[in-house]
């Protein structure tokens, strides 16, 4: 037990040190790379909290996909110039900010230490009705069955984010494709890497989605892995990002929330309640919804990383 405690303390110090690096690192690029490492370490902390589903999400989305997004942005902002002296806050501002932040941290730490050992919990209720959903993973049951409306709204947030990102395109690029065109001769090392990794990664992504019904995993984690594979293929320039006015792309972006919402409305007629699933059919319906959601999440995450259209649309 004491070995585990020592590991926990070491992990905590490491997470804090890397987090401090992302705030105090001299260059934006170094800070961004620090953030990716931070995300991976944080997923270890989540495993120590016995929240493996969250750990997978943190590693895949919080560290992986966000990392690609941030590193890409840092690389493009390299020419943005350094901070001018005028923008740099004065010593007294820094001191005041540091005191404020210490206060906030101390208050939060106090709350954490004062928490009772056994807090209020919904775990018994979640486990009690779990057999009715046919699922074995209570976290998936919360996401797709008990609190489905939250999850639908979250999908809508993702679609709105894509609309927001696309609307930042210059007028002449509207409807065009983000990112670079497919290369005539892709860079060999990158192309080889992508060709070896993508088939395996796609299998892993589908597997993580499929086992999510009973084991840690699910639509978010699987979708993020699938998105990463597509991004790798686009980065190796073996394929190019689709035009943002492509009909199939827009259909893919809304398929998840539309199917989910349709299943919810159908529940009113069939099972007597919004988002109620008829008993006995719950698991097939949930997996059907999740299939579309995984696909939509994969497409949405990849499009959010690709950014606004940067090429004129082809006719």
């Amino acid at each position: 037990m004491s070995v585990l405690l020592a590991l926990d303390v070491g992990l905590a110090l490491l997470v804090f040190a890397v987090a401090a690096w992302t705030v105090f690192a001299p260059g934006a690029f170094a800070a961004t790379v620090g953030y990716v490492v931070y995300g991976l370490l944080l997923s270890l902390v989540w495993i120590r909290l016995f929240a493996v589903d969250v750990a997978l999400t943190e590693a895949a989305i919080g560290s992986g996909v966000t990392g690609v997004l941030l590193i890409g942005a840092a690389a493009r902002l390299r020419r943005a110039g350094t901070t001018t002296a005028e923008e740099t806050p004065s010593g007294s501002t820094r001191l005041f900010a540091a005191c404020l932040c210490l206060l906030v941290s101390a208050a939060l730490a106090g709350v954490v230490l004062l928490l009772p050992d056994q807090g209020p919990t919904l775990a018994p209720q979640a486990m009690e009705r779990l057999p009715e959903t046919g699922l074995g993973n209570p976290v998936t049951a919360v996401l797709i069955a008990y609190r489905s409306f939250d999850t639908v709204l979250e999908k809508v947030v993702l679609v709105l984010a894509v609309v927001g990102v696309w609307s930042l395109a210059a007028d002449r690029y509207w409807g065009g494709a983000p990112g670079e065109a497919r290369a005539e001769r892709p860079e060999p090392t990158l192309a080889f890497f992508a060709q070896v990794l993508a088939p395996v990664g796609i299998l892993v992504g589908v597997h993580v989605f499929w086992v999510g019904a009973d084991e840690p995993g699910g639509a978010f984690q699987g979708g993020a892995i699938l998105a990463a594979m597509w991004m790798i293929l686009m980065m190796a320039r073996l394929t190019e990002a689709p035009q943002s006015n492509a009909f199939w792309l827009r259909l893919a972006l809304i398929a998840g929330p539309v199917v989910f919402l349709a299943a919810g409305v159908a529940g009113v007629a069939v099972a007597g309640g919004f988002f109620a699933y008829p008993s006995g059919l719950a698991k097939p319906i949930i997996l059907f919804i999740e299939t579309f959601m995984t696909f939509t999440i994969a497409v949405t995450l990849a499009m959010l990383v690709a950014g606004p259209p940067r090429r004129e649309p082809r006719q």
Partner: protein, 114 residues
């Protein structure tokens, strides 16, 4: 001290660290990074609430876990939008800064623009 309490304390420290970065660092990209630190700190504090809700044979309450998963995805969507805005600002203005534009500044203040 249990590993859950320790994780909660890291969460508290991360919130403060991120808040400091958001206030002090003038670069938008660094502010986005720091804001994400605050977010993950809040998630960790919520994570120990989940851990303290261990019951019914589960090591951790699934409801807060599901909410954190949703939160991570929404935080990513917000970061993507914020980064797209920063890059667009850089393309339009040639520099990525949150300072009000040169015209709004007192005369002689624009010398450092180029």
């Amino acid at each position: 001290m249990t590993s859950a309490t320790l994780a909660g304390l890291i969460g508290a420290a991360l919130v403060g660290l991120g808040l400091y970065g958001v206030i002090v660092d003038p670069q938008p990209l660094r502010k986005i990074l720091a804001f994400n630190l605050i977010g993950s700190g809040v998630f960790l504090v919520f994570g120990i609430v989940a851990r303290k809700g261990a019951a019914a044979g589960l090591q951790s309450d699934p409801v807060p876990q599901a909410m954190v998963i949703t939160g991570i995805v929404v935080a990513f969507a917000a970061s993507a939008l914020a980064i797209a805005l920063t890059l667009r600002l850089f393309e339009e203005a040639g520099r990525a800064t949150l300072r009000s534009d040169a015209g709004a500044n007192p005369p002689g203040d624009g010398a450092d623009l180029e």
